[in-house]
């Protein structure tokens, strides 16, 4: 869907994230890493992709397209649609999101707090592109899955005690998946839910300057099959 070489860490977290997507779901993919998710889904998983600029049934990227093509995704890239796709306007697009018909939003993040707050739209003075549809996706998708590298360039984990950046939405992240671990919000608090076989609990919490409890029973990383 998107064009660039993925690192092995990215491949790892994308494969794990693909396991969160269930047959029949309506899914919105944020710009960036989430756009690589479709190629990691099992072939028999029927997922309907929502593009907030105005359609459901988004298919593959259109290599013959240009930014002037009649079908572009929310990031401005030409793409295709699958049979059964429907085009609509921005009203219907966000009615789907706010009305509870978007099963899953897969988003990137600058910070996720231990209470599930998400900051991914603004770095004051540095990055001020506007929230676009991000606040609604974060606040209203039935489940919000954040995928991200475990550590940022300065070695800090994405999971923080409290977001220092402006929030996209409070208490919205249901699941955070990195190349090392899966965290899930349970009773309003993120907890460690699964650890990649190459890591132990300690390294799954590396760079996280907060008290993160572990689930009573960790989920296996890989499918049993």
């Amino acid at each position: 869907m998107a064009k660039r070489e993925l690192t092995s860490a990215e491949l790892t977290l994308l494969k794990r994230a693909a396991r969160e997507v269930r047959h029949g779901m309506v899914v919105n993919l944020g710009i960036g890493l989430p756009q690589f998710l479709p190629e990691h889904l099992p072939a028999d998983t029927d997922v309907t992709f929502h593009s907030e600029n105005g359609f459901v049934g988004m298919g593959e990227g259109n290599p013959e397209g240009t930014p002037d093509s009649d079908v572009i995704d929310a990031g401005g890239r030409a793409c295709r649609v699958v049979p059964g796709a429907a085009f609509f306007d921005s009203l219907t697009s966000f009615a789907i999101v706010r009305g509870g018909n978007l099963d899953l939003a897969v988003l990137g993040a600058f910070e996720v707090s231990v209470s599930g707050d998400l900051a991914n739209w603004k770095i004051p003075g540095k990055l001020t592109p506007g929230m676009g549809g991000g606040m609604e996706l974060a606040q209203k998708a039935n489940h919000v899955l954040v995928i991200s590298h475990h550590l940022d360039k300065r070695g800090r984990g994405k999971l923080v005690p409290q977001c220092s950046l402006p929030l996209t939405a409070p208490a919205c992240v249901g699941t955070l998946i990195t190349e090392r671990a899966v965290f899930r919000r349970v009773d309003g608090r993120m907890q460690l839910a699964s650890v990649h076989p190459d890591f132990d609990r300690e390294s799954a919490l590396e760079g996280i300057d907060a008290d993160v409890p572990s689930a009573e029973n960790l989920e296996p990383w890989e499918d049993k099959s």
Binding site: D46, G84, A86, A95, R98, G99, G100, N101
Partner: protein
């Protein structure tokens, strides 16, 4: 895309329960899910205490009148019931509760429910009995009525064409309240006069996208036409 085609029996048994709020499409006869309503009327013991949200009360003997006259309905929320004198009598005798809402606001309250808008403000009905008892808000020096959104448990609508995934299209004036009701309920049953392969409807021309729809069922003959 999922294949959402099933029988009306399965769809109703799967989603409809006594005590629910049902939104029912139609204005006059166009858009009315006659087949689905007929089935619900044929199981009057099973589906009771319903709240119906429908533009009108149909004419005597067809559509929701079947449910009304059998006592399956505790409340009807509508805009105009003038074509059903029998229901007007029921209402005036207190047999069935009826709430009347101006037609465009009726549609807007449903849209708000579907679009995740908890309430809208409007001046429609100010200075009339419609405003009585309603909460108000002063905006820029003007008094406005606060109209909370409406949502339902199940939407029952009749489309002219649906594809197997549930994308739906309406002919002429049949669309009326059907699309907006299809956005505002937990479950949506689209009764379709014609069911086509997924992908056959032009993607730009779809009126109700499949992501809102749970079941597509074939519309039967119109009971009141005797065919």
């Amino acid at each position: 895309m999922l294949d959402r085609v099933t029988t009306v029996e399965n769809a109703v048994a799967g989603y409809v329960r006594s005590g629910q709020t049902l939104m029912v499409g139609g204005f006059g006869r166009g858009g009315v899910p006659f087949t689905t309503l007929h089935l619900i009327a044929n199981h009057a013991d099973k589906y009771r205490d319903l709240t119906l949200i429908k533009n009108d009360a149909n004419e005597p003997g067809i559509g929701i009148d079947l449910l009304l006259k059998q006592g399956q309905v505790k409340k009807l929320i509508a805009t105009h019931i003038g074509l059903n004198p029998e229901f007007i009598r029921q209402m005036n005798d207190g047999e069935v509760e009826c709430e009347l809402i101006p037609q465009g606001i009726f549609a807007e309250k449903i849209r708000a429910g579907g679009a995740g808008i908890p309430a809208i403000m409007t001046d429609i009905g100010l200075g009339t009995e419609v405003a009585q008892g309603k909460a108000t808000y002063e905006l820029d020096g003007k008094t406005l009525l606060i109209e909370p959104c409406m949502r339902g448990d199940v939407a029952l609508v009749c489309a002219d064409i649906a594809d197997k995934a549930g994308n739906a299209w309406w002919c002429g004036s049949n669309r009326n309240m059907c699309v907006v009701m299809g956005t505002a309920c937990k479950r949506v049953i689209v009764e379709a006069k014609q069911i086509v392969e997924t992908g056959r409807l032009k993607a730009e021309d779809i009126h109700l996208p499949s992501v809102f729809v749970d079941a597509v069922v074939p519309a039967g003959p119109l009971p009141h036409r005797g065919n």
